[in-house]
Symmetry: C2
Subunit: 142 residues, 2 copies
């Protein structure tokens, strides 16, 4: 198992295709944004991929931004291939994201996850995350 931070230089068509296939396991209805767009230098998002035997089996993204209340990192698009669950890949991806966040001197990492997703919640709590007394609200524009 290897982890790497994807860059515009290391992105290939093969990586894009594999990530697209993987992400479809999570949600095959939503349109996906392309990695090329996500890796633009003006989009402050770290993309970690996990490979097993040369095949991409996991992704994790960290979007970073500074607001008055702090320098934040928002975790998104944590996906692990359904055939590779239970091998600690989600934990490895999260640990690497937190390493990157620490390196960038980010104040606080945030994430949201469905109340029903017990294994994911257990993982996040074991990494030190705590549930906030806040609700998450969204408004779709497109």
């Amino acid at each position: 198992m290897t982890l790497e931070v994807l860059t515009p230089e290391t992105l290939t068509v093969e990586i894009q295709n594999q990530v697209a296939d993987l992400y479809r396991q999570l949600n095959d209805k939503n349109q996906q944004r392309r990695l090329k767009e996500i890796l633009q230098p003006n989009n402050n998002v770290i993309v970690i991929i996990c490979k097993v035997d040369g095949k991409i089996v996991g992704t994790a993204l960290l979007s970073t931004y500074k607001v008055i209340s702090g320098y934040r990192g928002m975790v998104d698009d944590i996906v692990v291939d359904s055939s590779q669950r239970g091998k600690g890949i989600g934990r490895k991806l999260m640990e690497r994201l937190l390493d990157e966040a620490n390196h960038m001197k980010i104040d606080e990492v945030l994430l949201f996850t469905g109340h029903h997703r017990a294994p994911a919640i257990a993982l996040y709590k074991s990494l030190g995350f705590t549930l906030r007394e806040s609700g998450l609200y969204n408004l779709r524009l497109n």
Copy 2:
């Protein structure tokens, strides 16, 4: 009442001082990030300020980033001067943020707010926001 999008060019020491005073009403313990840092071109954050009689009485920030699941806007640092509540300033700030998000063709705007903050929740719902079946988790690094 006037609303404006703050830019590096329009930021002054007076604006920074007024925003710092206003933000202390929300939280006088947390360290504040400076507007100069927030308005750097590589930090994709829109800062709206509301003035009444030349004095800043409200702020709203929208951080924008692209991940695989979409082009997101995260709302933060919504503050209205305690002497100016009930005048619709929070609504005006949010409407302006949503105008900016629409203009940027953002897919989805997100925010989180304390479960006990009934007036804020009523405002967000009236603007079309819905509560997600998700918990918000955080981990402070600094």
